[in-house]
Structures are given as C-alpha cells and as structure tokens.
Amino acid sequence: GIQVEQSPPDLILQEGANSTLRCNFSDSVNNLQWFHQNPWGQLINLFYIPSGTKQNGRLSATTVATERYSLLYISSSQTTDSGVYFCAVIRNYGQNFVFGPGTRLSVLP
C-alpha cells in the first residue's frame, strides 16, 4: 500500500516564527488532506489539496503531485497552533485515507 512520511517528527518554535512541515507519499494520489489535532485531542480538517496551492489565513499548503510531496506553511505562529499536524492521502476513489505519523508542533510564548 501507499506509504506516507512526515517531517520533522517534532518541531519547537517561538511565537511569531514561521515553519514548514513536509509530507512525502510513495505513489500518485487522488486526494491529500492536512489535519490539525490540538493538545486537547480535537481534530480539524485544514486543507484538501491534491495539487496546487491554497491559503487560509496564516496557513497555506502546496502539493507537488508529480514529485509526491506536500508542504504546510505556518506563518507568524501562535501558541494555539500547537498540536499534531497530519497529512493523509487517498490513492483511488473507493479507498480510505492513509495517514502519516504526524508532526508534533510546540509553539512557545
């Protein structure tokens, strides 16, 4: 099956700093999504981005499907950005999401 890797596994930032999280996947995909799990466990779907670039406030994501990777950019980080960021992919319609192991982000005040 498809493999999903994320880097770095852990990231510690000072508030206000920028960061880039990376997701690599081993095969072509029909769907790629980014999720955020806050320190209290709540999961939120951030982006649906099988290709191209999207922006939502301080967060943006870019997927280069031909090179099988996606990047999540967080600018001017805030303590509320802390948590685990997961990317998940679907190879073909009818299949389920395969999640990466996540990047744990800690933003210090």
């Binding site: 029909n30 769907n31 999504q33 799990q37 466990g41 709540q42 999961l43 939120i44 779907n45 649906y48 099988p50 685990v84 997961f86 998940a88 679907i90 073909n92 319609y93 009818g94 299949q95 389920n96 999401f97 999640f99 192991p101 996540g102």
Partner: protein
C-alpha cells in the same frame, strides 16, 4: 449545537466485555467514518458509510461491527474486547466520500481503556 457528538467520552471496561460507542451528526452529511488513534497517536480509518451503506471496511477484526440506523448516526459495537483495543476512537462526517475531497468534521473522541 455540537456538529458531531460521541458518547461516551470515556469508557473503561474489562477484557472480554462487549461495548458500544455512539455517534451522531447534525450537519446533514451523507458520509460518516470511524477512526482509531492508538497510544502513539497513529490515526487509522476503520469504516466509511455513505447513506447508511458501508463503502469501506479496512482490515478491522470482525469483533468490530458498525451500525448506521440512519444517515445521522453511526454506532460502533465491539465484541470480546481485547487489551489492544485500547485507543481513542473518533467519529467524523462529510458531505462526500473522502476521495472526492470534502472537509471532514470530527467528533471529540471516545477514550476506550480495556483492563
């Protein structure tokens, strides 16, 4: 109003017991999911239902049986609980099935501990 709700929030039980987790969504979505998150935070999808019909069943043991009485509910029944079933279980919903690129909305999770 909570969009996706799960009950109970915590469940502690003995090995061998049978238990159920309930999920309800009030968003009018057609698709619902169950996910399992283990102690290392690894997330894995278990089931997808679209309009009460099972569309995806990952390699989950037969002891897990989802039931969707209507589009707004997807319950998870687990028979003969084992230690390895201890995890946080998340329910989610979306308009479209995952591959079609729709936003999923997650419940707060149910922490299951099997002793």
């Amino acid at each position: 109003d909570t969009a996706v709700s799960q009950t109970p929030k915590y469940l502690v039980t003995q090995m061998g017991n049978d238990k159920s987790i309930k999920c309800e969504q009030n968003l009018g979505h057609d698709t619902m999911y169950w996910y399992k998150q283990d102690s290392k935070k690894f997330l894995k999808i278990m089931f997808s239902y679209n309009n009460k019909e099972l569309i995806i069943n990952e390699t989950v043991p037969n002891r897990f049986s989802p039931k969707s009485p209507d589009k707004a509910h997807l319950n998870l029944h687990i028979n003969s609980l084992e230690l390895g079933d201890s995890a946080v279980y998340f329910c989610a919903s979306s308009w479209l099935a995952g591959a079609l690129g729709d936003t999923q909305y997650f419940g707060p999770g149910t922490r299951l501990t099997v002793l």
